[in-house]
Amino acid sequence: MAPTDNELVVRCLQRDEVAWQLLVERHSRRVLNIAYQFTGRRDEAEELAQEVFLRVFRSLHQFDLTTHFVPWLVRVSRNLCIDEHRSRAREKAALVADEVDPERTEDSGASPYRNLEEKELEQRVRRGLAELGEELRTALVLRDLQGLSYSEIAEVLHLAVGTVKSRIHRGRLELAVILSKSRDESERSWRGTGQVEQEPES
């Protein structure tokens, strides 16, 4: 049976390098994607994620073994990302940035049409999230982008599970309205473009 995160932390504190390797192995994707949501760029996200692991490694002794590791890791990651970006405004700015990481689209190996679709989806969701209030956005990002459970989110944000559920639900409802509007607008503009192109033929 695989050791739990907390067992690995105990072993790390006893200077067991294998345990630390396992922790890095388990959580690097999560940390990398948290950083990516802040930076919007892969190269910057990699650098930031490395800094996160460095901070985690140095502050493992501060981790309360009676709690869960993932919420603590997410909290440390988010705090460092916020510190590095000086303010939450940068997170919002990264969310609305039109620029999509060129490396991601280059190495995806998908067709250009698929890449375009993904790019549009990413931009639409980023803009939608940026329109939400900070409380709702944070809860929604933790749940639906970072895949944390309700109880883990409650630990990260120091809130009751009921409050977390309510915020996520309200966030999704607001986002549904925003995305539905933006989808309608893009469909209208697409139809408009199509009509303009067809005019010379008729």
């Binding site: 390098e17 630390w20 390797q21 890095v24 192995e25 690097s28 994707r29 990398l32 994607n33 990516y36 892969r42 996200a45 990699e46 994620a49 490395q50 692991f53 460095l54 490694f57 990481d101 991601r104 993904e118 989806l121 990413e122 639409r124 969701v125 939608g128 929604l140 639906d144 982008l145 559920k165 996520i168 639900h169 999704r172 409802l173 986002l175 549904a176 309205v177 995305l179 539905s180």
Partner: protein, 196 residues
């Protein structure tokens, strides 16, 4: 079921965790209320959009870089430096020069050190003057070659060999090569390369 009840259960429905007991009433309302059906539709598609938001994969070597950064054993001098409580520093060319100067000053203060310092000083001067001579010779030779309609070989290695050969041949009393001489032209190949 009211619209408010429907909206409250929508999250659980979209996540597939709505209890069976409430599912029937929820579905009945979904089929009978067009506004709630539209809401459910936009809610589930927003959730789908969020879930298909692109994630980046961990690149090759990423974990290794983290392990290198976190578990690398410090060199003995780094440990000693940290034990002294001094901040980490990187040796820049300027700080390396400053350290060397301090070493020379220290050596100059001892009897044996004076000799060593003098030798180091002379070697440094010799290297510096050789480099200067080589530099000026190369530009002089270029001018001479250009005046004679010849070309100095384009490749760096060829040019350096050619310059070295010229320097070896030339005695200290000889005139500078910017004064055209018959002997110089004979040492050039027609292509402008060094004489075989």
């Amino acid at each position: 079921m009211t619209h408010e009840n429907f909206e409250a259960l929508l999250g659980d429905y979209a996540e597939g965790i709505l209890p069976v007991g409430q599912m029937r009433a929820f579905r009945d309302h979904l089929t009978s209320c067009s506004s709630c059906a539209a809401l459910a539709d936009s809610y589930t598609s927003a959730l789908a959009d969020l879930h298909s938001f692109p994630r980046i994969e961990v690149p090759d070597g990423f974990k290794l870089r983290i392990l290198e950064k976190t578990t690398r054993r410090p060199a003995p001098w780094e440990t000693f430096w940290a034990w002294l409580g001094l901040p980490r520093f990187r040796l820049t060319p300027a700080s390396a020069g400053a350290l060397l100067s301090m070493l020379l000053l220290f050596l100059a203060g001892t009897s044996d050190g004076k000799r060593v310092a003098r030798e180091i000083n002379m070697a440094t001067h010799q290297t510096y003057s050789n480099a200067l001579r080589l530099y000026y010779r190369s530009s002089d030779l270029k001018e001479t070659a250009a005046a004679m309609g010849k070309k100095i070989p384009g490749r760096l290695e060829g040019s350096m060999d050619w310059i070295r050969q010229r320097l070896e041949k030339q005695s200290p009393g000889e005139p500078r090569p910017n004064q055209p001489e018959g002997s110089q032209s004979s040492s050039m190949t027609p292509e402008g390369g060094p004489a075989a």
